[in-house]
Structures are given as C-alpha cells and as structure tokens.
C-alpha cells in the first residue's frame, strides 16, 4: 500500500514538472518572439504622411501584417516621423503616444489596440421621500456583467470603461431604476429609490443580481429589513427583530419566549450584537422575553453565522449588526404604536431640510401602571422597561457626514413594603446605554472612510433600603457592569469592480466591574468592596471581496487582534476566507473558513441571559476563547430571483471556552436576598473551568422573496457538544441547547392593500436538562460542621450532565393586520396576533415533586404560554 502511494506521488510529481516546463517554455518562447520583433531596429523618416501610410511601410519593411480597429485608431491622422535606429516599439509609441494604446505580436501579426479608459461612478443611494441612505443596494451594469453594492452608509463606487452604459439600480422593496450614461469622466450619481407600493398586485420581476445569494461570495449570512419583523406574529404583539432571527436555520431560541439565541452550537455571549457600531452587552428585557431593539427605530438587521468578514471579531459564533434609521430629511413624520403591554412613539424630521435630520423613538411597558389599583398600601410591586433611541444625522457637505446615535434602555423592578414602623424598599435595575459618534469622509471617489467614537455601558444593580423605628436603617447595594470606550477607523476602497477592499483599525478600553458591594449596617458599619478589571482590546484588519473571473470569487481577510490585561497581552492572528464557484449562472458552490477569538465572556449558570450573569475578561489565568469554523454550501436562485435556496454544512471547533464549575454560581431569583447572594458568592476566579466544544450540522433555507406571498422554510440538523475538565467527570456531554432538528415555516400573505396575513409554525427537538433523579444519603453526616446538610440528610443528585432530553417543542402563531389610509394620508393599522394557536404545552422546565408527603415523586412539565391573543394599533403620520 505504502509502495503504491509512493509510486502515485512520484507520477504526480512528474506530471507537475512536465506542466511547469511546458508553461515556462511556451512563455519564454512567445516572450522571445514578441521581444525580438518589437526590439528590431528600423529607420523611417517621413513628413506629413498619414498614419495609414506609415503602418503600410512598416508592414513592407518588417514582412508583418499589422492589425488594428478603425474605430480605435484614427489612421488618417497626418504625422511626421524621424526614426533612426529606433526600435519598432519606440516608433509605435511615437505614433500612438497615449498609454491606452497597446501593441501585441501574435505569430506574424502585430496588433495595435486601444485599451478603453476607465472612469469611476460614485455616489449615494437613498430613499426618495425620507432621504434615508440605503445599504446593500445593487448597482449593476448588465452589458459588462459587473456591479457593486452600497455600503452601510449608502455609498458606492464603480470603475468601468468609458462609453455608453446602462446602469441598473435595484433593492428589494424599492422600484428598480435604469439609467443610461455616457461615461467620459469620473462622475457622481446620487440616486433616490422610490419604495414599491407596499401591497403588491403582481409579482415584480427584477434583475436583482447582486443581492441574490448565488451572486455574492459571502455565505452564512442573512439580512432582514423591518418589514419582515413588522409582519411576523410575536408574543404579546411586540415586534421583535431577534425573535424573527430565531426563525432562521442555524439560529435557535433558548427557553420558551426567550430572546437569547444560540448560533451554530454557540452560546448567547458568543454573539456580537452591534447597534450602530456599539457593542450591546445585554439584549434582553424582562428576563429575555423581549429584546431591547425597538422595531420602529431599526433600519436593517444583518446576521453572520460563519464566513465572518475580517472587519468583525471578538466573538466566536455570530455577528448581529443592527442599524437604526437616520431620520427623514425632507418632512416631519412619525409613528405611534399601542399594544397590550407597551406603547411606543417615533418622531423624525429635518432640522435643516436636506442637511440635518433627527429621529427619536421611545417605548415603555405599562403593566405596572395597570396593576397599580391591585396594589395594597402595605405592599407595592412594580416592573416596567423603557427604551429610547435617538439619532442625529448631519450632512456637512458632499464628502463629509456626521451621525450621532444613542440608545438608553432600562428594566426596573421595585418592591416597597410598609409594616407599622418598618419600611423596606427593594430595587433591581439593569440596562444598557450606547452612544456612537460617526464621521463619514469620502477621500475620493474610490476611498470612503468611517471614523467612530463609541461608548457602551451595561449595569445591573440590586439595592435594598430598610428603615425601622428609632432611626434604624440599613442599606445594601450591589452591582456589576461594564463600560466600553472605543475608537475605530474603517476604510472602503474600490480600485476596480473586481476588488472591494475594506481595512481598518480599532481599539476598545473595557472597564469591568464584576462585583461592587456597598453595605451600610444598622450599627453604621460600612462595607465597600469594588472589583475592577481594566483591559484594552484592539484589532487591525484587511479584507478583499475579489471577483477573479465570472465563475470564481474569493473573499480573503486577515485580522490581528490584541488584548492587554495588566502585563499579560494576547496577540492573535485570525484568518478568514470565503470562496465561491459558479457552477451555473444562478447556482454557486461556496466554502468558508473563519478563526475567531473572544476576550470577554459572560458567565452564566442558567444560560438564560439573566441580568445576574457576569461579564468578565480574559486575564493572565483565563485565556481567550477560540473558534475555527469551516462551512460548505450551495446557493441557488431561481424563478427570476423570486426564490432563493441555500444549503450549508458547517463544522465548528471551540477551544478554551469557559463555564462555571459545578455549584460555583447559584442563580436564585426568587428574592432580592437570593439575587444578592448570587452575586456575593459567585466565584469567577476559582469557579471557572475551561474546555472544548464542537458543533456541526446542516442548514436548509428556501426563501420566497417577492410576490403576494413571501416567507421561508428553514430546517437545521445539528449537534453541539462540550468537554470540560471539571464538568461531567471530564467526559463529553451534549450542550444544553443541542437540538437535533429545528424546522420553521414562515409566511406573509398580502392579498390586498388592506390586509396582511402572517403565520409561522416551528418545530424543535427537545433541549437537554439537568434533572436530579437519584437519591442518596447526604455527605454532611460525615462532616464536623453541624447543619451543613441544611437539616436534610437526603442528597438529590444526578451523575451525568444534561441527563434528560426534554420533549419536542412546536407552536403555531398567526397574525392579521388591517391597513387603512386615512383622508389625511395617514396609515392606520390594526394588528391582531395569536401566539401558540393550538395551545401546545411546550416545556419551560421540568420539576420533580410529589402531591403530598406520602405520595411518590412525579415528573412535571412546567409550561408558560398557551394560547395568547394580543392586539396592537399603529398610526403612521
């Protein structure tokens, strides 16, 4: 066997050498011929003769045929020439001084041809009415089969040969534009796209070439516009971008109703969530039932599950990029929305028409206000969340633009009790603040830059204030959080239509407070304990979207990331590569590789994204997490891009991932005391273990993108496993959210301008639970400290991690919206949504308990939301 292998290798080697020899030989030979003719010295002296006559004389002298195109060369031009012992190349250059003219020898023929001159078209694409810049718009030249897309700021640049061209500008949801240009110099073309009538009477057929999956190199990514998540029915009628993402293959939800999401076997903290360039650390309201992203303020949501471009880094599993609206630059507009549990209002408009715009949107839940009459004088309990998005956009001039955007969101839980002289006030607060100042600068028509100053904050606070008689009082306050201060420079460079370079550098200063405790006891003892970790995370990257030819394109990228904590620094190169090969014009084979490092981690016991989870940093002892992912897939578009199909397989390996050791974190939320206890006792130094993870699977997505009925059908078959030295006895175990099958079907039907009907059905295999199923004698009997068993000699435990596979989850949600344009041209929408229509009792968690002391233990499925109807009303003005 070994011998035959050797022989095979030898034969292959011989073949390779032969091919190299032929290539080199032919190259040398043809080079020699060309050089010889063009280097041949000649004498030619002529005055006031046409170029045609000079070329004729050269043909005679050299015994060569000279070929040229009449349209490229003006052969009637009169010239004079005085060449003595000059090479043919020099003579020809004298006749055709412009470097656009090229000379090539083919056997006994000399070709003279003119290389066309290239000019650059650049500009911005925006929406017609609002002047909102549009990203990912396709600019396509059918005749040249080339094109580009706008970046996130609506900018594009395309260098093409001079001459007459037809440009096709297209973007899903907007009317296509065809524009004829006579390109004779660099030009700026700013284009306004008009939204298509929202309720389509017929299928629009377009040549939306670049945005179709078979035409781009990038794989494992999806982009959603607000219209998607505005139409899909959700729990309690709250439109939610993250919940819509959870319906896509490869993106799985956690527990029922939770906005925590698990991408290709990763954990929620491995998702990089970027809101207008700022990292968002906690994307949940109400323990994960709603996401913090107010649908009204969002312009676009894009997710990358693999094949990550080099401009993104710092997380292992996904990148979710959320861009907010810039605000209407032409007229004041707004939207008010009332739903069962919250109300929201968005206002936008010009501050200076065409130059400066603003947008502000706010949302607040009012369950606390509605429940107020039920509260007693002795006890008042309130919970609400609120969020505000605000943005200012200012066009300084054609080349410079400024954006300032900010987000503030807060969940508040308050509980006040009054009993005679004793008063107690408890508060739990958690929320994010982000703020970004961005400056777009166009250096020239091929080089675009964006500079961002970024601030991001997440804080979780629990406080308790007890006051009694005789001025007795005690206060307790504990918090954890993180502050980020970042600067980032990103550049887009468009040298030719076949290359789009992106490069940049950025740095973020992380100021972690894993734990801060301030206790003031009755006897005025004050305990203050603050832990701080300060780190610097930086990265430099370059990537190129390179179309090698009509069939092959690659997207290589390189990112160097650096992380500094005290004297310990980590420097990690990260290689990224995507490649696409067109098997047929609309069928593309794709592959990608991505290596990612993660320097900051969220420690979570429950995996539910609770506010008690702590963000901690890589330190000297805690290495950064690392992942490598390869993916292979096909993308097919058919029926004039009405349908898109992607099938992808992936394999992801994760190293140095972290988890709590058994019992290192106790996540109790039943009382403030439990929550504070969780924070006080959590041990993120000794309580952490590191390990490995594997995730692999296949994803299938069939989308219908246009027409009265749109939607998708998604299926994921996947596996996700972990191995930690200190967990499960060091043995490999299935990850909690390791779901074998995940299927979703989503449909939005718009039969007329007045009605939108939507529905989704999803099915997911059960997740894994830790279910203590064994009883033994507690070990504390044997220990010299009394009551260590908590007055109970029974030990309830399980020996295998995630030892119970929960039941399958499935659910049907339906929604219907009635739209009406009022006489004042305002759009009024009544929406009704029905969550879990057939009232499936899906598992939330499992509990072992008995009816009474004398009955045997029973396993119960606890479920949360059965049939939940809700409504919302919105008015656009």
């Amino acid at each position: 066997m070994q011998k035959s292998n050797c022989r095979f290798n030898f034969l292959v080697r011989i073949k390779v050498i032969r091919v190299l020899f032929v290539v080199l030989f032919i190259g040398e030979f043809s080079g020699y011929t060309q050089e010889e003719i063009l280097d041949q010295k000649i004498n030619l002296v002529k005055e006031n003769v046409s170029i045609a006559s000079v070329l004729g004389e050269l043909e005679t002298k050299l015994d060569f045929t000279i070929g040229y195109s009449d349209s490229a060369i003006d052969i009637s031009k009169i010239i004079s020439i005085n060449a003595k012992e000059k090479t043919l190349a020099k003579v020809l250059r004298n006749l055709f001084p412009s470097k656009l003219y090229q000379f090539k020898v083919l056997g006994k023929k000399l070709l003279i041809y003119k290389r066309p001159k290239k000019y650059t078209i650049s500009g911005y694409i925006s929406e017609k009415v609002s002047q909102e810049y549009l990203g990912s718009v396709s600019i396509y030249i059918p005749e040249l089969n080339t094109g580009t897309t706008t970046n996130d700021y609506g900018f594009y640049s395309l260098s093409i040969p001079e001459g007459n061209h037809q440009i096709l500008i297209s973007f899903v949801g907007y009317k296509n534009i065809k524009k004829n240009i006579d390109l004779t110099s660099d030009i700026t073309i700013n284009i306004n796209l008009e939204p298509e009538t929202e309720y389509l009477d017929e299928i629009i057929i377009s040549s939306d070439q670049e945005t179709s999956k078979s035409q781009i190199t990038q794989m494992s990514s999806e982009k959603l516009n607000p219209s998607f998540f505005e139409d899909i029915p959700t729990i309690l009628g709250e439109k939610d971008a993250i919940k819509t993402l959870q319906l896509l293959p490869g993106i799985q939800s956690g527990s029922e109703g939770s906005t925590g999401f698990y991408v290709r076997g990763g954990t929620p903290d491995q998702n990089l969530i970027i809101l207008d360039e700022a990292t968002v650390y906690n994307s949940n309201h109400l323990f994960g039932i709603f996401s913090i992203f107010n649908g009204d303020a969002i312009k676009s949501v894009e997710i990358f599950k693999g094949g990550f471009p080099a401009r993104y880094g710092g997380r292992l599993s996904s990148v979710v990029k959320i861009n907010t609206k810039n605000g209407n630059k032409e007229k004041f507009a707004g939207k008010a929305n009332i739903s069962l549990i919250s109300s929201s209002l968005l206002l936008e408009g010009p501050i200076k028409k065409g130059k400066t715009s603003f947008v502000i949107s706010g949302r607040r839940t009012y369950a606390d206000l509605l429940l107020l009459p039920l509260m007693t004088k002795e006890e008042k309990l309130a919970y609400y969340f609120t969020d505000v998005n605000a943005k200012l956009h200012h066009v300084i001039n054609d080349k410079n633009k400024l954006y300032w955007s900010t987000y503030y969101g807060q969940d508040k839980y308050r509980n006040r009790t009054v009993f005679e002289n004793e008063r107690s006030k408890q508060k739990i607060l958690w929320g994010n603040i982000t703020s970004t100042l961005r400056w777009n600068h166009e250096f020239n028509n091929k080089l675009f830059s964006n500079t961002s100053l970024i601030f991001s904050n997440y804080k979780f606070t629990v406080s308790k204030d007890d006051r009694g008689g005789a001025n007795r009082s005690s206060t307790f306050k504990t918090s954890s959080g993180i502050n980020d201060y970042g600067i980032k420079f990103d550049f887009n460079y468009y040298p030719t239509p076949n290359h789009t370079f992106r490069f940049g550098i950025g740095s973020t200063y992380h100021d972690f407070t894993p734990k801060e405790i301030n206790i003031k006891n009755i006897n005025d003892d004050e305990i203050v304990n603050t832990q701080k970790i300060k780190t610097l995370e930086s990265a430099i990257y370059i990537e190129d979207d390179w179309r090698i030819n009509d069939k092959i394109s690659i997207y290589p990228g390189l990112r160097f990331s650096h992380f500094q904590h005290k004297s310990k620094s980590y420097f990690k190169p990260e290689m990224r590569l995507s490649a696409a090969y067109k098997l047929y014009p609309l069928l593309t084979l794709k592959a990608s590789y991505a290596r990612m490092n993660q320097y900051i981690h969220r420690l979570s016991n429950s995996g539910l994204g609770l506010p008690t989870d702590l963000w901690v940093s890589s330190t000297e002892r805690l290495k950064p997490q690392l992942s490598e992912q390869i993916a292979l897939g096909i993308a097919k578009d058919f029926k004039n891009n009405v349908y898109g199909l992607t099938i992808e397989g992936y394999y992801k390996k994760m190293d140095d991932i972290i988890a709590f050791k058994e019992g290192a974190s106790f996540a109790g939320l039943e009382s403030v005391r439990e929550i504070t206890g969780s924070i006080r006792t959590v041990d993120f130094v000794n309580g952490i273990t590191t390990g490995k993870g594997w995730a692999y699977g296949t994803e299938f997505l069939l989308r219908k993108k246009k027409g009265k009925l749109t939607g998708w059908l998604g299926y994921t078959l996947s596996w996700s496993q972990r191995q930690f030295k200190d967990l499960n006895g060091g043995k490999i175990f299935n990850e909690r959210y390791d779901r074998r099958h995940d299927f979703s079907i989503v449909g939005i039907y718009k039969p007329s301008k007045r009605i939108t009907i939507s529905g989704n059905w999803l099915f997911a295999s059960g997740i894994n639970y830790n279910l203590p199923n064994t009883l033994g004698v507690a070990a504390g009997n044997n220990f010299p400290i009394e009551d260590v068993n908590n007055n109970d000699n029974i030990l309830l435990f399980n020996t295998e991690k995630n030892n119970f596979k929960g039941e399958n989850f499935h659910r049907l949600d339906l929604g219907i919206q009635f739209h009406k344009i009022t006489k004042r041209n305002r759009e009024r929408t009544w929406g009704f949504s029905f969550y879990n229509v057939y009232a499936r009792k899906n598992p939330f968690y499992y509990e072992i308990s008995s009816e009474n002391q004398n009955s045997p233990n029973v396993l119960y499925r606890r479920y949360l939301f059965q049939f939940l109807p809700s409504f919302n009303y919105s008015l656009k003005f």
Binding site: F476, N521, I522, R680, V788, D792, E847, Q853, L864
Partner: protein, 292 residues
C-alpha cells in the same frame, strides 16, 4: 376595556404557578454505591459512609429521614484505609453513627500525606485516594451585631478569617453557641445559610467573612466557631447536598452534580481531606435594638 386587560395581565403574571402537567417518560435514577470519606488530622474519629442510592421516583420515599438513612445505608461493607507506608486499618461499622469508623489515635492522619480507601461491598471493589491539605486557617475572629434580612432585622454573628495564601481555597464555616454558663446540654447552631460556603473569590490572601443568624445576643454567649478549609471535592459535594433539594422548583437553578473520585463501576462519592480550626470565645452581650 380595563378589567379585560387586567384579567389578561393577571393571567400572565400570576397564572404561571399551576401550569404543569405530569410526564410519564421520566429518567430513572441510578443504583450506585455512594461512598463519602472526609479525613482530617484534627478529627478524633476517622469516618466513612457507605450507602446505596435509589431513583427519585422509587416508591418507598415517604419514609422519615432516619428511616431513609437506615434503608440506604450499607452495613456489611469492608472499609480499609491505607497510608503511604502501606500500613492499613479496617474501619468497623457503628450502628449509632451509621458510619464506618475508627479512632484516629489508632491510625494517624497527617497533613500532606496520601491515603487510599478500599471498599468492598455487594460483590464489588471500590478505590479512592486523597492527599490531606498541608495548611489550615490560622486565626478566626467573630463579632455579634445585627443585620437586615428580607425586611427584618436579625441578630448576626460575623465570622472573619484570612485566606491561606498561594492557592485556591474552599472553606466551610459553622458555629455553635449557648448562653454562657447555661445548663442546657444542646448547643444551638448558627445559621449561615449559603454564606457557610466561602472561597477566596475576593483575592488571594485577603480577608473572608461570613454572616450567620444567631440569637440571645442580649446575653453573654459562648460561641464555638469552626472554619474548615476543604478539598474542592468536599466543598462541591456538600454544596450539592445543601442546595439541590431546595431548588427543584426554581427554573433558573442548575442542580449541582456532586463530584466523584471513587474508582470502580457503580461507585460514586468523595474521598478527600480537610483541615479544621475551632475556636471558642465569649461574645456579648450587646444592647438590643428597639422593637426586639
């Protein structure tokens, strides 16, 4: 409109408690031999517990705790401990303590030394080894006062001690007390709740404190404080005993899987070492607050 909204919100917020349904397909627990032996140079008796386990769904659960222990305890095992010099001693079963035990005067447990446990029972052989920690906590201080707990003020015993430098440490804190010169035989236990489990999370060598609920602080108290620095295996297995059973209805709690260093098929448990510092002191009385 308002009552309707209130009804729905009320349903969502308050209605969750009874949303449960029985499941037939349940994961039966394992039949294991559970072995726990914790050795310390400070202990007068060397003790090892050998018992069986049952499935949580098994029928005879409606037993009183003492019966439960009696049902599961294995009384006819052969339990042998061996030191580094291959000297061994067999522990005999005590029906009083329900443990296999021997006086430490007959078999010396020394800091830093390795010991091996061999258990033969039910036709199977089990083995485990451990090393006794070298260092122990050097000083403990304690003070009594008050603290607020869930809107009430309670009498508090604060125990503090310094972390042992240079290593990751795991501690278990406890205390007994009675009124000085009391004639009562039984001493009361200070309730440290979850704070009885402490680590050097605040930093290597820094101070550690735990608060426990005490009573009778208006009188002089004789308090015996105990701080054990234990092997991480002991810490985790005791924490599992402490937390798991109370948290079965907490959806956010992940039950602790107790560690295992018992070799042999069907064996489970911990054989590990710890060091113990006990200090008895007289504290109080302190002036009571209004309302007490």
């Amino acid at each position: 409109m308002k009552p309707y909204i209130l009804l729905i919100i009320g349903f969502i917020v308050l209605g969750c408690d009874d949303l449960k349904e029985e499941i037939r397909n349940r994961p039966e627990g394992e039949k294991l031999v559970l072995i726990n032996g914790f050795l310390s140079p400070e202990e007068e008796i060397i003790k090892v517990e050998v018992s069986k386990t049952i499935s949580v769904f098994d029928k005879p659960l409606q037993l009183q705790q003492a019966d439960f222990v009696n049902t599961l305890i294995i009384k006819d095992a052969v339990v042998v401990i061996k030191n580094e010099n291959q000297e061994e001693v067999e522990l005999s079963y005590s029906s009083d303590s329900k443990l296999y035990q021997i006086a430490s005067s007959e078999f010396l447990i020394e800091p830093g030394k390795r010991y091996t446990l061999n258990v033969s029972t039910e036709g199977k052989e089990f083995k485990a080894t451990c090393v006794i920690p070298v260092t122990k906590t050097e000083s403990i201080s304690a003070a009594i006062g008050f603290r607020a707990v869930d809107g009430a003020v309670v009498e508090n015993l604060n125990v503090s001690f310094d972390d042992i430098k240079g290593e990751n440490n795991f501690y278990i804190v406890g205390a007994l007390f009675n009124v000085t010169n009391s004639i009562e035989e039984n001493r009361s236990v200070v309730n440290f709740d979850i704070e009885r489990f402490a680590t050097d999370v605040n930093g290597d060598g820094l101070g550690i404190s735990a608060n426990g609920t005490i009573s009778n602080t208006s009188e002089s108290l004789e308090v015996t404080v105990k701080v054990a620095n234990v092997d991480e295996l002991i810490y985790t297995t005791l924490k599992a005993s402490f937390l798991n059973k109370d948290q079965t209805s907490n959806p956010f709690f992940q039950p602790i899987i107790p560690p295992n260093n018992i070799e042999g098929e069907g064996g489970y448990g911990v054989f590990a070492g710890f060091r113990l510092l006990e200090k008895t002191m007289t504290l109080g009385p302190i002036q009571s607050l209004d309302g007490f």
